[in-house]
């Protein structure tokens, strides 16, 4: 059954590639939309070039640094707001107001005072921070009161309760957050390159568009999607490792 499904998936990919090839050859000029048979060799050629890997490294570095900042800030603030009674009630309207504010409004404000590399990291950090913070807050809210009372009757201190009761409850929510934020981080690291010319993949894509290397740009976009898939896979693996003890993961393995 599984092999059958994979076969269909492969057929779907091939079908889409053939359909793209036919439509593009029939309707578009290769100067605007190159066919896949031109993009794929170009992508392979790029994979052998150092400048592609330098750009990818820079983009991933910005994404990772931003992610780390967001995780640290989100976890600390989330635990602080979630464990002090009343603080959530006072801050919730402010948090609700700030969260939907699109992080890219920061670009025009910050570009006057910071350099583009720092702004890109900050863009990633701010966007991911909200996701982490709200996941932690959901998690803290779900802590089992009986478990807390049990820990208390065993005379566990505040810190020990956080480590042994709250943290394991929040961890699955953090796993979800991790899965969500990796693609957000990649998207914003790329956006920084597109909009401000921060060195990296986004900038490389934009400059090949401006210099008219259309096939090269399509190849870069194709590879960017591949990087996205790889990063997403890594996040899922990390989530599974982090939660190997959790019921949902164990059931998945058993099935």
């Amino acid at each position: 059954m599984s092999r059958y499904r994979h076969g269909l998936g492969l057929a779907g990919l091939l079908g889409a590639a053939v359909a793209y090839e036919l439509v593009v050859r029939a309707l578009f000029s290769p100067l605007h939309v190159p066919p896949l048979t031109a993009i794929a060799p170009e992508a392979v050629r790029l994979l052998g070039e150092a400048r592609f890997w330098t750009a990818t490294g820079r983009t991933l570095l910005a994404a990772v640094v931003g992610l780390a900042i967001a995780l640290a800030a989100g976890v600390v603030l989330g635990f602080a707001i979630g464990s002090v009674p009343g603080l959530l009630r006072v801050t919730s309207s402010t948090l609700d107001f700030l969260r939907p504010v699109p992080s890219i409004v920061l670009i025009p404000v910050l570009i006057l005072v910071l350099d583009v590399k720092e702004i890109t990291v900050l863009l990633v950090a701010v966007s991911c921070f909200w996701i982490v913070l709200f996941q932690v807050l959901y998690g803290v809210r779900e802590v089992d009161q009986v478990a807390v009372d049990t820990a208390r009757s065993f005379r566990l201190g505040r810190l020990a309760r956080i480590v042994h009761v709250t943290w394991p409850t929040v961890l699955p929510y953090l796993g979800t957050a991790l899965r969500l934020i990796v693609s957000v981080a990649l998207a914003l690291a790329l956006t920084g390159g597109l909009v401000m010319g921060t060195a990296g993949l986004g900038e490389m894509i934009w400059s090949s568009q401006e210099s008219g290397e259309v096939t090269g740009m399509y190849a870069l976009v194709l590879l960017t999607g591949g990087i996205g898939v790889a990063v997403d896979l890594l996040a899922r693996l990390a989530e599974r490792r982090l939660l190997h003890w959790h019921v949902a993961t164990r059931r998945e393995v058993a099935a």
């Binding site: 057929a11 779907g12 006072v90 992080s103 909009v195 999607g225």
Partner: protein, 263 residues
């Protein structure tokens, strides 16, 4: 039971909700009042600029085109996403055929499509419409597919046993998936606002993103700040509007699952 009537409790709730934002705004107002840093103008100057810029012709010239593009693309993404997501969620063969393809497009960041469409379609409105729509499409489509797939088998079989007409059964399936569809649509709303602003920053002659970038490049700092505040307020207002629609549409779901509204 707490002391005090519902009125007093409402007032206390409003106080809690408005207290911190009011305090923060007041702090910004006071702290920036004497600012001579040209990048951080006093809030008073920003508010003045806000009235001057956005309550005049600029509103019709810039805000309306932005909102029009956002609404049209988001609406199209909703229709396409729900229809395609329904088909993919309902028929295992469609799901198997498309799942690697969808996995790829789900992680391909929407802003990257801007230069591609710029070359393929040109710099007009069409490019912006397509790219906003593409950004919004994947979360709606994938959530719809997941939601439709997770519909209770027993419910479907009951509907079949009662020989309900095919169309009614489709409608019931879709209705059972609405909570998940709304989750996708909410995610899509945030993405489409971001893509809207980015697309206007990169290629436009009007729109919010374009105007704010213009102000920043001509060092009209208070005007730029006012635009930033407007984009922020817009994001907030649309999120609230969405929440209102969702609450109305999913009233049955809340009752069904016994979930109370978050306090």
């Amino acid at each position: 039971m707490r002391a005090g009537g519902p009125l007093a409790r409402g007032a206390a709730g409003a106080g809690l909700a408005l207290g911190l934002p009011a305090a923060l705004l007041a702090l910004w107002w006071v702290a920036s009042a004497g600012s001579t840093n040209i990048f951080l103008p006093p809030l008073r100057v920003i508010v003045e600029a806000f009235g001057r810029v956005w309550l005049s012709g600029t509103f019709a010239d810039d805000v309306v085109p932005s909102l029009w593009r956002l609404g049209a693309s988001y609406g199209a993404a909703l229709v396409v996403g729900v229809v395609a997501g329904y088909a993919i969620g309902r028929w295992p063969v469609a799901r198997a055929l498309t799942s690697p393809l969808l996995a790829y497009f789900r992680v391909l960041p929407a802003p990257v499509m801007i230069p591609v469409l710029l070359v393929a379609v040109g710099i007009g409105d069409a490019t912006k419409l397509i790219v906003i729509g593409l950004g919004a499409l994947w979360p709606i489509l994938l959530n719809t597919a997941d939601g439709v797939r997770a519909v209770d088998e027993v419910q479907l079989e009951t509907a079949a046993a009662f020989r309900l007409p095919v169309w009614t059964r489709h409608r019931l399936t879709l209705r059972a998936a609405t909570p998940q569809i709304f989750a996708g649509a909410r995610q899509a709303l945030g993405i489409s606002i971001i893509v809207m602003v980015v697309s206007e920053m990169l290629m436009s002659t009007d729109g919010l993103g374009f105007t704010v970038t213009q102000f920043q490049r001509s060092f009209a700092i208070p005007e730029m700040w006012s635009g930033v505040l407007l984009i922020g307020a817009l994001g907030f207002a649309l999120a609230k509007l969405f929440e209102l629609v969702e609450r109305r549409a999913l009233r049955w779901h809340r009752g069904h699952t016994g979930r109370e509204e978050p306090s």
